[in-house]
Symmetry: C2
Subunit: 366 residues, 2 copies
């Protein structure tokens, strides 16, 4: 039963700003990066938030494997298309600036697409898609990632969990936000089962011979995750296809790495992660008021549709996350004790002490 300490959201964000600034990230960029990581913890995607502050960002910045100034270069530009080089900078900052420019272009052109090559891990894909919402646009965000998923009939991890995120505004209802890995589960979920000595549901992963396994260690040691859909009989080749779709848009089209070569930055090579962003201005197609009214009707129709036996609520995508974020803004953001311990440890090393006061303690049974 893991123990979590609760912290004020704003205080966590301020801490992360100090952390990034200390590592030579410009103040404005530090605020961007901190906001994106905090959004992950607020929305219940803990795997992409504070837990990665040091491993994915701090550690790599300290080792000079990532450029703290995130120098973006324009490779190609037209009214609605933009191709950027991320300068091996902070993925969160490259993503934010790329989506900001995408939205600016879509204000004039109606539609815009931006690709980014030579970038790094950019956190939750959904954050960038949601940036389009206040502008009455549909937002789209894809990224490729280091290989963890095997193709159908394969046994080696050659594809990332390559997420798809799309956000669309509504009127009275909350916006619709899909933010999904194209594997069944992320690797972090398998690690949780491994630590808890629990069997995996059959189909989440394969062993080193490519056979479905219920042993988390089989997946973690030489095995791979399965794409959405799982086995062939359940049409796992569709999830495999979606992973490729993301890699073609975010990797190949961007001129970034793709497939097995997408990596972690090291002393000998950059990660060369690729991103893809799109913004679609709704009023280029129909009046925004009509679109939003129809979105409300659509979301209500799904939520009110008849429930399966044993269930009393149907969710639409993003709903749980909005509710959780609102609650956590009020009552505090839970951070696992081991994460708190490493924040304290890393903070000391870097010289930015993690000295926030816990608002209390909660425990969780997973």
């Amino acid at each position: 039963m893991p123990v979590y300490q609760l912290y004020h959201a704003e205080e966590l964000k301020e801490y992360m700003v100090r952390f990034f600034t200390k590592l030579d990230v410009p103040t404005e960029d530090a605020a961007i990066a901190a906001d994106i990581l905090l959004a992950a913890d607020l929305r219940g995607v803990e795997s992409h938030g504070l837990i990665r502050l040091n491993t994915y960002y701090g550690d790599r910045l300290r080792k000079k494997l990532v450029d703290p100034t995130t120098p973006l270069t324009v490779l190609h530009e037209s009214a609605c298309a933009l191709s950027l080089d991320g300068g091996n900078g902070v993925g969160l900052v490259a993503g934010y600036r790329a989506m900001t420019r995408t939205i600016e272009k879509a204000k004039t052109a109606g539609i815009a697409i931006t690709t980014v090559r030579n970038s790094n891990h950019y956190g939750i894909a959904g954050y960038y898609a949601m940036m389009a919402l206040p502008h009455n646009m549909i937002g789209v965000s894809f990224t490729n990632a280091q290989p963890l998923v095997a193709p159908t009939y394969g046994k080696k991890a050659v594809l990332g969990t390559n997420p798809i995120a799309v956000a669309a505004p509504a009127d009275h209802c909350r916006p619709w936000v899909l933010d999904m890995a194209t594997s069944i589960v992320p690797i972090g979920r398998v690690t949780v089962y491994d630590k808890a000595r629990r069997d995996l549901p059959l189909g989440w992963g394969i062993d080193s011979q490519g056979q479905p396994t219920t042993a988390p260690s089989d997946v973690l040691k030489g095995g791979a995750l399965m794409p959405l859909g799982g086995t062939d009989v359940m049409r796992g080749y569709k999830g495999y296809g979606l992973a490729m779709l993301v890699d073609i848009f975010a990797g190949v089209l961007a001129g970034a790495s793709f497939g097995e070569k997408v990596g972690q930055p090291s002393s000998t090579r950059t990660a060369d992660v690729g991103h893809f962003f799109a913004a679609i201005s709704i009023d280029a197609f129909r009046p925004i008021a009509d679109f939003k009214a129809d979105m409300d009707a659509y979301l209500q129709e799904l939520k009110e549709s008849p429930k399966a036996a044993g269930h009393d609520r149907i969710y639409v995508h993003g709903e749980k996350e909005f509710e959780l974020a609102e609650q956590r803004q009020r009552t505090g953001v839970p951070v696992m004790q081991p994460v708190v311990d490493s924040l304290i440890e890393n903070g000391k090393q870097i010289g930015v002490e993690f000295d926030l006061s816990s608002l209390g303690q909660v425990s969780d049974d997973e």
Copy 2:
């Protein structure tokens, strides 16, 4: 063991042109519609080809439920965005003309998106995505469809099998073509199991109470298909999200029907199906030669990656279909005997006799 008659592809196409023309579809439009239906049969998607010539097209045209002239109207237009009303015409023709205009726009603007409202069933989504390939563009095509799929925790079919199709060109390798329903299987697959008195794999569908079932009749009578991913533990809410994504782009953004209201045309209402098309000119982002070389490398990497025990080949999307289409162009297109019988029967009624000579007969064990 169903029996199939083999026919020359070109002769089948010529027959369909005569069929559509007889039903007041202009000759040019008839050739378009016939080519798209034939492509389905060539590519092994028999469920979307000749088998639907009468039920989805002929019958509705005869009953004046679909306008044979497919009068398209422009609702909104800018350099890269186009919103069309399909005039309750032939979906195949509306789709073809909409994608043609999308590609024309993308030649100038670099990117273009077209939505179509007030349309009808448009056949295989992949056809339109593939139209972008000769222009060195990535093509995208979505459509919504009549409700057959239940949302996660629901028990009623309120979503279509809403397909996603994306095509990207390569150099020496064949193009990559993903064309997938966002349900695990289409309803036609369940019908095949029902007729063969076989149990369904658990997870393809639910009964009228929302419980997973292996009985095809449970799914067909008051049940529903499950979205890609299946049950909650296998992350079926992702497939549910993809079905909504398609409905938001092809239905809500287009100003067409969405969710449960997408229908079949009747004497009291039109089907009001919605489509979404996008074309992305690769050279707006990077030189086409570089993209194609990377696509070759990517496709080869996947095909050559280590195989799971019991498998000796990894496929990339579209590969099987290209091989099958080439073979069927040479040796003939198989048409199931009951479909041949109904072509003969309907042909007599309409006055366009189905008088093609079979090239031979084959049987299949599914």
